[in-house]
Amino acid sequence: MSTIAGPSAPAGADERLMRTSPLRRLLGRPELGSVVGAAAVFVFFSIVADSFLRASSLGTVLYAASTIGIMAAPVALLMIGGEFDLSAGVLVTSSALISSMFSYQMTANVWVGVFVSLLVTLAIGAFNGFMLTRTKLPSFIITLGTFLMLTGLNLGFTKLISGTVSTKAIGDMEGFDSARKVFASQWTIGGVEFKVTILWWAVLVAIATWILLRTRFGNWIFAVGGEADAARAVGVPVIRTKIGLYLGVAFAAWVSGQHLLFSFDVVQSGEGVGNELIYIIAAVIGGCLITGGYGSAIGSAVGAFIFGMTSKGIVYAEWNPDWFKFFLGAMLLLATLLNAWVRKRAEATK
């Protein structure tokens, strides 16, 4: 791919390097496969569902995408860093339960509960990262353990404290209205309702992309996922990087959890199971390699958007929503194949 040349070799334009066309550069992007997929899904539902193209549908689709996308972005970073988090789905519920029950039991301002929840959620993320780097067991096992434990704790604690599987309503408590504004408000723009989670989603994806592509930490994420031993040998703090990634997932789980709580005013303790896989699917559709070291945060957003379009498109097409999982699975397979094909072509022609 390169040659050994004398010092007289031209430093400027290289005659062996063909001008890279913008198209070729685009083909090299990890999120390309997902963009093609998203366009295909969009066209498909535009044809089969009349109401899909209405402006009001856009707000609904984006909302569905944002609830997944907020989590998919940090999960994508974690996957690029070479690890999984199977506890991410129930951690969202745990985070909501903690805010709600702490505020209710202490009869405190709900913001106190929200803050306590942030600390506890981050601590659980740190626990995942710490266990992983200490025991050197696969993250699949560690977070599967956390997933099961949290599922049990969510149900057990909620029943113990409130007697039922859902928390007590906190809608009339101090601070609820301001917290709802932050985590679960909505705006109407041009007659279309947009939820605030869409904004949170956009901000998180932007931050994740910035971190990944333009910071030292981002360079380390690629390195620990691509070849952890090589990274360690050149002085990358592998342990700190991985724990940081789990903290990122925990932070997003906290944001999602607070949205869950303040959208309504009660939380069902059994929620969230299975969502962890949807986050991973969104990240993989978005071009993340399952083995780590490659992927993008923007891709995860496109993956989440595909998820939003499919889940709502099926409703607009007036099909039975039971088919949704089938579509999701087929999409995952197709996107992964497309990604692999595109990457192979991009690398072969480089």
Partner: protein, 286 residues
């Protein structure tokens, strides 16, 4: 290559950059390394030779800060030291290039070049990688070492093995390493690629670095080496300067001296079954 031919009789500095004195390392009850001594001087190449399992890896892991030694003394610039981790070794000017884990294959060349020591620009939340500097430096530094890359954006995994080693060496030189430890840099390479890598090893030496070259190839070692340490079954079986040993002798010792003679003896008598004292070899016609 612009690098001048090495002045053969370069004066050795008084103090070694790195000195191991009767260093030992145990894993549980296994003696991985016993009483090994090694000196690394600026502008010199110290070769560590040994067969598989001789303790070469353990030795470099100690110098690189991956393992701590259990006995003996480890001196850096004359000061007794125990390295805590690879970062510690790097901070003290010891850079190690591993044969198979020198780089992260999926990452672009420029990201690999600066991995672990990325330059940043800006402040506070806008502190970011200095991407322009990183790309330009990668290109110019590699060109200075004689590697003319077409595209610093290509994943480093698309380079050949020799080129990857060279990038890793160029990186160590750029970051001001005083001691360069190379783990079997030519082991997986063809003759031509090995020559290219050895040229960079010599270039690093001429730049004033102390080099530790680990290899099981006495021919490669003798081409560039100033000092030779032979390891065998975790212990030092010989230590020579270039003046005190010939290539033939080095090869003979490396192969185990008397063991080699025995082996050649065994190989010789195979086609001559009469040496077996008249017993015919089954299945072989006289």
């Amino acid at each position: 290559m612009t690098a001048p031919k090495a002045p053969a009789g370069q004066e050795a500095p008084h103090r070694a950059l790195v000195e191991l004195d009767h260093v030992s390392k145990y894993y549980g009850n296994i003696k991985a390394l016993t009483d090994v001594s090694l000196e690394v001087h600026a502008g010199e190449i110290s070769c560590v030779l040994g067969d598989n399992g001789a303790g070469k890896s353990t030795l470099i892991k100690i110098i690189a800060g991956l393992h701590r030694h259990d006995a003996g003394t480890f001196l850096i610039d004359g000061e007794e030291t125990t390295l805590v981790n690879p970062r510690d070794a790097l901070d003290r000017g010891i850079a190690t290039v591993y044969q198979d884990l020198a780089v992260v294959p999926l990452m672009p060349v420029w990201r690999n070049f600066f991995l672990g020591s990325e330059p940043t620009t800006g402040a506070g939340p806008f502190k970011r990688l200095d991407v322009r500097l990183m790309r330009e430096t990668t290109r110019s530094e590699l060109l200075r070492m004689g590697i003319d890359l077409r595209d610093v954006d290509q994943p480093i995994g698309t380079l050949s093995g020799g080129e990857r080693q060279c990038v890793a060496i160029a990186r160590a030189v750029y970051f001001g390493a005083k001691v360069l430890v190379l783990d079997e840099p030519t082991a997986a390479l063809g003759v031509k690629q090995s020559g290219v890598v050895l040229k960079y090893v010599a270039a690093a030496r001429d730049a004033g670095l102390g080099v530790v070259l680990i290899t099981h190839n006495p021919h490669h070692a003798y081409l560039v080496g100033d000092r030779f340490v032979l390891l065998k079954r975790g212990a030092m079986s010989g230590s020579h300067t270039r003046a005190s040993i010939t290539l033939d002798e080095l090869t003979r010792q490396m192969a185990g001296g008397s063991e080699l003679e025995e082996l050649s003896h065994e190989l010789e008598r195979a086609p001559a079954p009469t040496h077996l004292g008249g017993h015919p070899v089954p299945g072989k016609a006289e």
